[in-house]
């Protein structure tokens, strides 16, 4: 059973508008969440993270929101730019060696 779910395989957004990528998790023991960005034929790169003791973390155009009661987090990108077109992975850490990964959402920014 998937513990981290990204239910939208793809998302298309107009350049300059807000992109919102969603992620749901089932394990309440997760206490740290990460977002990675991946371009084709490259490895994922770390984008932003959030600890479970916070409900928001911001880094430039990127903001991650965490709703622990709903077991839901979202990544907001404002404003969206063409270079943001990539696959975005959500991952959760629960204290072991492993990260638990979502299946990814492909973001397409339209000019």
């Amino acid at each position: 059973d998937q513990q981290v779910k990204q239910n939208s395989p793809s998302l298309s957004v107009q350049e300059g508008r807000i992109s919102i990528l969603n992620c749901d998790y089932t394990n309440s023991m997760f206490d740290y969440f990460l977002w990675y960005k991946k371009y084709p034929a490259e490895g994922p790169t770390f984008l932003i993270s959030i600890s479970s003791i916070k409900d928001k973390n911001e880094d430039g155009r990127f903001t991650v929101f965490l709703n622990k009661s709903a077991k839901h987090l979202s990544l907001h990108i404002v404003p969206s730019q063409p270079g943001d077109s990539a696959v975005y992975f959500c991952a959760a850490w629960g204290g072991s060696y492993q990260l638990i990964w979502g299946a990814g959402t492909k973001l397409i920014i339209k000019p």
């Binding site: 490259e42 490895g43 770390f46």
Partner: protein, 113 residues
């Protein structure tokens, strides 16, 4: 900056061949990981290592083995390559301190014919 390098970006092998994928990290990280990425399936963990000569199976270890003889180097071995092992292989490393961010290499696109 953390640097994780992988020996090949693209590799084409024949069914039944033994395949070695090498990964090197330069940040003295404790943990190293091998994943494969397939469309719609996200990143699936094959094996990881938390110390030299130590290894743990991930979610899909069948058909693979690993070796970590030195801290900076983690090798993935396909004992007898099969067509269903055609995939993007990603190596990652992490410091091993909570919370743990993983840093990835550029990936190896392996095609098994």
């Amino acid at each position: 900056d953390v640097k994780v390098t992988q020996s090949s970006r693209y590799l084409v092998k024949r069914t039944g061949e033994k395949v070695f994928l090498e990964c090197v990290q330069d940040m003295d990280h404790e943990n190293m990981f091998w994943y494969r990425q397939d469309p719609g399936l996200g990143l699936r963990l094959i094996y990881f290592s938390y110390d030299v000569k130590m290894k743990e199976k991930g979610d899909i270890p069948e058909g693979y083995s690993v070796s970590r003889e030195k801290k900076e180097r983690f090798s993935l071995i396909l004992e007898s390559a099969s067509t269903n092992q055609t995939s993007m292989y990603l190596c990652a490393s992490s410091l091993g301190q909570a919370p743990d961010t993983q840093y990835f290499g550029p990936g190896t696109r392996l095609t098994v014919l």
